[in-house]
């Protein structure tokens, strides 16, 4: 069973669950996911191995998240670059395996939606 939580201001976090058995819930969830991505929300999916990844897109027809396919346990930071960077730069990641994509069925994904950030 898949779930979609959204960090919410006033009423506290909202969560909906859905599976392939209930078509109505799945349609509602698909609409929510598409709308959230359109509004710039970050949809963060917990994968089977416990790691998280951000949804790049969503295929509404088949109900699958499209995510970048990389191994999150692989060290991608260049050690030398990070040592020389200033305190206002971000960790430098190697440009490898960026173009590969994989799909995660929505009914198998635990997703948390984070609204666009206003900085701080």
């Amino acid at each position: 069973m898949g779930s979609l939580s959204c960090l919410n201001v006033s009423g506290g976090d909202i969560e909906i669950t859905f599976d392939t058995q209930s078509a109505a819930e799945a349609i509602r969830a698909k609409r929510m996911i598409k709308d959230m991505l359109r509004r710039g929300y970050a949809l963060l999916i917990e994968q089977e191995d416990g790691t998280h990844t951000r949804a790049l897109d969503f295929d509404e027809k088949v109900g699958k998240y499209i995510v970048a396919d990389f191994d999150p346990t692989i060290e991608e930071t260049d050690g030398k670059q990070i040592e020389t960077q200033t305190e206002t730069s971000e960790p430098t990641l190697k440009k490898t395996s960026r173009s590969r994509r994989k799909q995660i069925p929505m009914e198998k994904a635990k997703t948390v939606a984070v609204a666009p950030s206003a900085g701080g």
Partner: protein, 228 residues
């Protein structure tokens, strides 16, 4: 019966957010505080109109910048007669941020905070959860970049890397400040409850670390608003 005067206000905003179809809800405007919303939020312009207007004292601020030499903000202003002058804004501690944050706590409900804590509990290991409940912070190291993060309630996340040698201590890269939807200016309070902010930092770090760094404000560790 509302528990406090903001309870009813929060309830109304919750109902209103369902009408405007905003998944993350509508933040609470607090009198005297400036709420800065993400510009794409459908109600951003409405909230902007609520912001307190600066009093016209005749002087016009020309520029403000941070002086690394003096470790404070420097302000340049123009007086009514056209004469320009400058001054330093001393910033030795973060007590003003602390006090503003206490004031902004009226925007949050305890119920929402408890819900957020329940969600966070599912995302971290039991000993990490206990650490968070006891100290208000916890550590996690990114498998991708090797950067260690200290996620803190109501304070920016601290990014650390080990020193060059084995015996050297951790080096602070910077403090990362980020609030989904919006935040109250000159405070550490976000529009969402504190644990939701912590969760947003944690999930963005885990799911897309590069985007986390891009979206967050990167604050030098010696500045008071870094909260160190």
């Amino acid at each position: 019966m509302p528990a406090d005067k903001f309870d009813e206000h929060r309830w109304l905003m919750d109902k209103l957010s369902q009408h405007v179809n905003e998944w993350c809800g509508l933040p609470i405007q607090i009198q005297g505080e400036t709420l800065i919303l993400e510009p794409r939020h459908p109600a951003a312009k409405v909230y902007q109109s609520f912001a307190p207007k600066p009093e016209d004292e005749g002087e016009k601020i020309i520029n403000t910048f941070y002086s690394h030499r003096d470790r404070c903000d420097v302000v340049i202003w123009e007086e009514r007669d056209g004469k320009r002058d400058w001054g330093r804004i001393p910033a030795l501690n973060h007590i003003s941020h602390d006090l503003s944050t206490v004031g902004c706590s009226a925007a949050w409900s305890l119920e929402a905070e408890l819900k957020a804590q329940k969600t966070l509990k599912k995302l971290v290991k039991p000993h990490i959860w206990e650490m968070y409940m006891l100290t208000g912070m916890f550590l996690e190291t990114s498998a991708r970049s090797g950067v260690t993060y200290i996620f803190r309630r109501l304070k920016p996340t601290v990014a650390l890397r080990p020193g060059k040698t084995e015996n050297s201590s951790m080096r602070i890269l910077c403090c990362l400040c980020l609030h989904p939807i919006g935040y109250y200016a000159e405070s550490w309070a976000g529009a969402m409850v504190p644990t939701d902010d912590v969760m947003a930092h944690l999930l963005l770090m885990r799911g897309d670390e590069k985007m986390f760094w891009k979206r967050a404000n990167q604050i030098a560790p010696h500045r008071p608003n870094a909260g160190l």
